[in-house]
C-alpha cells in the first residue's frame, strides 16, 4: 500500500516534470524539471529494493550530471530561451504521433509481459543490496566494469581535448594592444584612452550612474546600454540620460554606424548576447555592445524561417 501511494504520487510528479522538461521555453527550467524527474526516480528505485542505485542516482545524476548541465547552460547563456515555433514542416506533428504510438505500443507490449507477482530480491540480496551488487560487479561483470573505467578516463580525456583550443596566433601582449589602439586612433580617430568609468565625477559611485563631463553633462560613453535598456523598460531611467543617449544614437547613425539603438534594443527583448568569453579575446569594454561585434567574433547567426527549410 505504501508503495502504491509512493508510486502514484511520484509517477504523476515525474510525468508532469518530464512534460515540463520538454515544453518549457527556458533551458534552466528544463534542467530543474529533469532534476525533479531524477529525484522521483531515485525514490522509485529505493522503493524497488535498489537502495544503492537510488543513492547513485542522486549522487551521480542529480548531483554531478545535473550540475554539469547547469554549468554548460550558464556558459551558453542562462537566460536564453527557445522559440517554440517549429521550423521543420511536420516535425512536431509526427514527433507527437510517433511518441504517442510508441508509448502506447511499449506500454501494451511490455506492460502486459508480466502477469505474475514480482519475485522480489530478498533471495538475491542475502548479504544486503550493496555487497550483493558488488559481488556481481566484481565477479561476473568485472570485465565490463574495467571497461567502464577505461571509458570514464577516455571521456575525461575527450572532454579536455574538445574543450581545448589550439592557439593559432601568439597571445597579444599589452604592448601589442596599446599599439593597436593607437593605430586605430590614427586611422579612424577613435579615442585610444580607456572609456570613462561609471560614476566618475558623479554623485553616486554606482555602475548605473553615468559619468559626468567637466561641463556637468552626461558622457554617453560611460553609460552601460544594457542597464540603460533595463531601466528604460522599468521606467527608472533618468530622462536626461535618455536624452543624451538618443542624441548620441542619432549622431552615430548619421556617421554610418549600425549599432542597434536604444529604442530598438528595448523592443527586441533580451538578446542572446554570449556570456562565454574567449580566453584570448581582447577584453572588450564592458559597456560597449558594438565592440563585441568589432572584436572579430562571429555574431550569432540570425535564426529565421528560411533556416528551417
Amino acid at each position: 500500500m505504501g508503495e502504491s501511494i509512493t508510486f502514484w504520487v511520484l509517477a504523476v510528479v515525474s510525468v508532469v516534470a518530464a512534460l515540463g522538461l520538454v515544453f518549457s521555453r527556458r533551458a534552466v527550467y528544463s534542467a530543474l524539471m529533469l532534476g525533479v524527474v531524477m529525484l522521483s526516480l531515485a525514490v522509485l528505485y529505493a522503493v524497488q529494493d535498489a537502495p544503492f542505485l537510488a543513492a547513485v542516482q542522486i549522487i551521480v545524476y542529480t548531483g554531478a550530471v545535473m550540475m554539469l548541465f547547469l554549468f554548460v547552460l550558464m556558459l551558453v547563456g542562462v537566460d536564453s530561451s527557445d522559440s517554440l515555433v517549429e521550423t521543420i514542416k511536420g516535425q512536431r506533428f509526427w514527433a507527437i504521433v510517433a511518441g504517442l504510438a510508441f508509448a502506447a505500443l511499449l506500454a501494451f507490449g511490455i506492460g502486459n509481459a508480466f502477469v505474475a507477482a514480482p519475485k522480489g530480491l530478498t533471495a538475491a540480496t542475502q548479504g544486503g543490496n550493496v555487497p550483493s551488487l558488488a559481488q556481481l560487479i566484481f565477479t561476473r561483470h568485472v570485465f565490463a566494469f574495467e571497461v567502464t573505467s577505461a571509458l570514464l578516463i577516455t571521456a575525461a580525456l575527450g572532454a579536455m581535448v574538445l574543450a581545448h583550443r589550439e592557439r593559432t596566433a601568439p597571445k597579444a601582449t599589452q604592448r601589442d594592444l596599446s599599439r593597436q589602439r593607437f593605430v586605430t586612433f590614427g586611422r579612424t580617430g577613435k579615442n585610444p584612452a580607456p572609456l570613462p568609468g561609471p560614476g566618475t565625477y558623479a554623485r553616486h559611485n554606482a555602475i548605473d550612474m553615468p559619468a559626468l563631463l567637466p561641463d556637468g553633462g552626461v558622457s554617453p560613453l560611460s553609460v552601460n546600454r544594457y542597464i540603460a535598456r533595463h531601466e528604460a523598460e522599468e521606467g527608472t531611467l533618468p530622462p536626461e540620460i535618455a536624452r543624451v543617449l538618443e542624441q548620441d544614437d542619432l549622431e552615430r547613425r548619421s556617421n554610418g554606424h549600425s549599432t542597434p539603438t536604444l529604442a530598438e534594443d528595448a523592443r527586441s527583448g533580451p538578446d542572446t548576447e554570449p556570456l562565454i568569453e574567449d580566453e584570448d579575446d581582447e577584453a572588450a569594454p564592458h559597456d560597449q555592445p558594438d565592440e563585441a561585434v568589432t572584436a572579430g567574433r562571429i555574431a550569432p547567426r540570425p535564426r529565421s524561417e528560411e533556416d528551417g527549410k
Binding site: I88, A101, F102, L105
Partner: protein, 632 residues
C-alpha cells in the same frame, strides 16, 4: 553416256598436280613478301611460275590421255581440311585439265604481254604478284575435288580480281569498281554458300566423288534448290543477269587483267560450276530451264550493251557478257550442250584475250585513250595489232572456218533442238554480235583519223605482239580442231557425260545459214554507219534505245534504286536507332536513376532532428510489428 567413275590416283604429273597451284602461289608469296628487293626481276619470277604451271598442266594432260577414257577421273587426296566436313584433294579429269591448260597457257601469254604493257608502272612487281595469285586461285577452283576447296578458289579469284581491278587504286573510279565487283560477287557467293550448305545438309558430304553419284537419290525439290543457288553463284562470278553490273566497271583495271580475268578465265568460272555440277542440274529441270533463260537474257543484254559503248574495253566487256551468256545457255541444256559450252569457253578464251590484248595494244599506242571516237584509221600504224585483232573479230562473229564459227554455231544448233525460242533468240544475238563487233573494228582501224593532237600511235613492242600472234593462231584453228569429229565432246564425256547420239556437224543447216546471213547484215549495217560514214567525235544523243544500252540497260540505276538507296537509308536508320534507341534506352535508364537519386537525396536535410524522427518512427513501427507478430 554417263560420266566415269572416280579413281584414286598417285604418281606422275597428275600426282603432283598440286604443283600447278603451288608454283604461282609461291611466286605471289615471293613477290609480296620480298618487297622492293624483288622489283628488278619480279616480272620474270611471275612469268616463270606461270609457265612452270603450264608445263605441269601439259604433262598432266599427256598422262591423262594415257588412261582409258573410263579411267580419266583421277582423285589426288591431299589433306584433311575441316575434319568431319571436307578433305581436300584435287580432281584431274578432262574438264579440269581443259581449264588448266586454258588458264596456264593464256595466263602465261598474258604474263608475257604484261611485261611490256606494265613496263612503266612503278608497281609492276605487285601486279605480277596479283596475277600469280589469281592463277593459283583459279587453278584451285577448277582442280578442287569438293565444294569447299572450290569455294576457296572461287573467293580467291574474287580477291585477285578485286586487287587487280583496283590496281590503280589512287583513281577513285578504280577503287569503287573493285569494291563493287567484290560486293556483287559476294551476293553470288551468298547463293553459292547456301547451295553448299544445302548440299552438305542433304548428303553430309561435300566431295564431288560422293555427292555426284548420290545426287539422283535426292528429291527433285532439293536438287532444284541446289541448282538455283549454284546458279546465283555462277551469275555473280560470270556476270550474268541480274548480277552483271560489275563487269563493265571492272574495265577500270589494267587491260591484261581484263583479258585474263574478265574475259578468258575467271568470268567463265560460273560455266565451270554449272557444268561440274551437271549431276545436280540434270535432276532438276526447272533449274536447267532457269539457267538457259538467264543465259539467253544475258547474251542479248550483253550484245545490246556492246552496240552502244564508245569505250573500246566496255564494248568488249559487253561482248564478253554476251558470249558467256551463250556458254551458260549451252551449259543449261545438259550433256548435249556441255561440250559446246566448254569448247566455246576455250575458243572464247583465246579470241577474247586476243581482242582485249589488241585493244590494250591500241591503248598503249594511244596514251591510254579508250574512246573509240578518237581512234580511226589505225590499221596502217599498227599492222600486227590490226591483223591479230581482225582475226579475233572474225572468230567472234563466227566467220566460217574460224574458231567462233564452230563453237557458237554448235551452241545455237543445240539450243535450237532443245527449245526453238531460245535458239532463235541466240541467232538474233549472233546477228547483233556481227553488228557491234564490226562497229568496233571499223571505228578503231578504219575511217578517218580522229586522234587527239598529243597521240602518236605506234606498234607495240615484240613482247606484246607475240602473245597476240599466238592467241590469234588459236582463234583461227582451235574451233575446228575441237569440234570437227566431236573430238572435244568425246574427250569430255568421262567428266560430264555426253548425249547418246553424237551431233554431226552440218555447215549448211538452215540455222547456220540464217545466222551467217544475220551476222553479215549486222556487219554491213555497221560498215554503212561507221565504216563508210563519218563518225562524230562526240556521241550523238541517240534514241531512247541507245540511251538504254549506253546506261547498261539501267542495271546500275536499278541496283541503286532497289538496293543502294534503301540500304543507305536503312544504315542511317540503324545507326540512329542504335544511338538513340538501344543506347538511348540504356542511357535513359541511367539518367532516370541518377535523376531520382538526385531527388531522393533531398531527404538528407542535414537536420539531425529529421533523422531522429525517422529513427523514432522506425522504432515505433518495429515495436508495432513486434506486437503484431508476437500476438499472431
Amino acid at each position: 553416256m554417263e560420266p566415269a567413275e572416280f579413281i584414286q590416283h598417285s604418281g606422275g604429273a597428275i600426282g603432283v598436280a598440286w604443283l600447278m597451284i603451288a608454283f604461282p602461289l609461291v611466286g605471289a608469296a615471293i613477290l609480296l613478301l620480298g618487297g622492293r628487293r624483288t622489283d628488278r626481276f619480279g616480272h620474270l619470277v611471275g612469268v616463270v611460275m606461270a609457265v612452270a604451271s603450264f608445263v605441269v598442266a601439259a604433262l598432266a594432260f599427256v598422262q591423262l590421255l594415257g588412261f582409258q577414257p573410263g579411267e580419266r577421273r583421277r582423285l589426288i587426296p591431299l589433306y584433311d581440311f575441316i575434319p568431319g566436313m571436307a578433305k581436300v584433294g584435287l580432281l584431274v579429269d578432262p574438264l579440269s585439265i581443259s581449264f588448266c591448260l586454258l588458264i596456264t597457257f593464256v595466263g602465261s601469254l598474258i604474263h608475257v604481254y604484261s611485261i611490256g604493257y606494265m613496263a612503266h608502272d612503278p608497281n609492276r612487281r605487285r601486279f605480277f604478284a596479283y596475277l600469280n595469285l589469281f592463277v593459283a586461285a583459279m587453278l584451285l577452283l577448277v582442280l578442287a575435288d569438293n565444294y569447299v576447296a572450290l569455294f576457296v578458289g572461287w573467293e580467291g579469284v574474287g580477291l585477285a580480281s578485286y586487287l587487280l581491278i583496283g590496281f590503280w587504286q589512287h583513281k577513285p573510279s578504280a577503287a569503287t569498281a573493285a569494291k563493287k565487283a567484290f560486293i556483287v560477287n559476294r551476293v553470288g557467293d551468298f547463293g553459292l554458300l547456301i547451295g553448299i550448305f544445302t548440299i552438305f545438309a542433304t548428303f553430309h558430304s561435300l566431295a564431288f566423288a560422293q555427292v555426284f553419284p548420290a545426287a539422283h537419290g535426292a528429291s527433285q525439290g532439293t536438287l532444284t534448290a541446289i541448282g538455283l543457288l549454284l546458279l546465283v553463284g555462277a551469275c555473280g562470278k560470270s556476270a550474268q543477269l541480274p548480277l552483271q553490273s560489275w563487269l563493265l566497271d571492272a574495265m577500270e583495271g589494267p587491260t591484261p587483267v581484263s583479258a585474263l580475268i574478265h574475259a578468258a578465265t575467271m568470268v567463265t568460272a560460273g560455266v565451270y560450276l554449272i557444268v561440274r555440277s551437271g549431276a545436280v542440274f540434270q535432276g532438276a529441270e526447272t533449274a536447267q530451264l532457269v539457267v538457259t533463260i538467264v543465259g539467253v537474257a544475258t547474251l542479248l543484254a550483253g550484245a545490246i550493251i556492246g552496240t552502244a559503248k564508245d569505250d573500246i574495253k566496255k564494248a568488249l566487256a559487253g561482248s564478253t557478257m554476251s558470249q558467256i551468256g551463250y556458254m551458260v545457255l549451252a551449259a543449261g541444256i545438259g550433256p548435249a550442250g556441255y561440250a559446246f559450252a566448254i569448247a566455246h569457253l576455250i575458243t572464247h578464251g583465246f579470241f577474247k584475250a586476243d581482242l582485249f590484248l589488241g585493244a590494250g595494244s591500241v591503248m598503249h599506242g594511244m596514251n591510254d585513250e579508250v574512246d573509240m571516237r578518237k581512234y580511226g584509221g589505225l590499221r596502217k600504224v599498227m599492222p600486227i595489232t590490226f591483223v591479230t585483232f581482225l582475226i579475233g573479230y572474225l572468230a567472234i562473229i563466227g566467220f566460217p572456218l574460224l574458231s567462233g564459227y564452230f563453237t557458237k554455231d554448235g551452241i545455237i544448233e543445240t539450243a535450237m533442238e532443245h527449245n526453238a525460242v531460245l535458239g532463235w533468240l541466240a541467232v538474233i544475238g549472233a546477228g547483233v554480235t556481227g553488228f557491234y563487233m564490226s562497229r568496233l573494228v571499223f571505228m578503231t582501224f578504219f575511217g578517218a583519223k580522229r586522234w587527239e593532237a598529243t597521240a602518236h600511235p605506234h606498234e607495240s613492242p615484240a613482247v606484246m605482239t607475240w602473245p597476240l600472234i599466238i592467241l590469234s593462231l588459236g582463234a583461227i584453228g582451235l574451233g575446228a580442231f575441237l569440234i570437227v569429229g566431236n573430238r572435244f565432246m568425246t574427250f569430255l564425256a568421262p567428266a560430264v557425260g555426253a548425249p547418246e547420239e553424237l551431233p554431226t556437224f552440218n555447215p549448211f543447216s538452215l540455222t547456220g545459214l540464217v545466222t551467217l546471213a544475220l551476222v553479215a547484215a549486222g556487219a554491213a549495217f555497221a560498215w554503212f554507219r561507221y565504216g563508210a560514214a563519218e563518225v562524230p567525235a562526240v556521241a550523238p544523243r541517240g534514241s531512247f534505245l541507245t540511251t538504254f544500252a549506253r546506261r547498261d540497260l539501267y542495271g546500275d540505276a536499278l541496283n541503286e534504286a532497289l538496293f543502294m538507296r534503301p540500304g543507305q537509308w536503312l544504315t542511317r536508320l540503324a545507326v540512329f536507332f542504335d544511338n538513340r534507341g538501344v543506347d538511348g534506352l540504356v542511357n535513359g535508364l541511367a539518367a532516370g536513376i541518377g535523376g531520382s537519386s538526385g531527388r531522393l537525396r533531398r531527404i538528407q536535410t542535414g537536420f539531425v532532428r529529421s533523422y531522429a524522427l525517422s529513427i523514432f518512427v522506425g522504432a515505433a513501427l518495429l515495436a508495432g510489428a513486434w506486437l503484431v507478430v508476437g500476438n499472431l
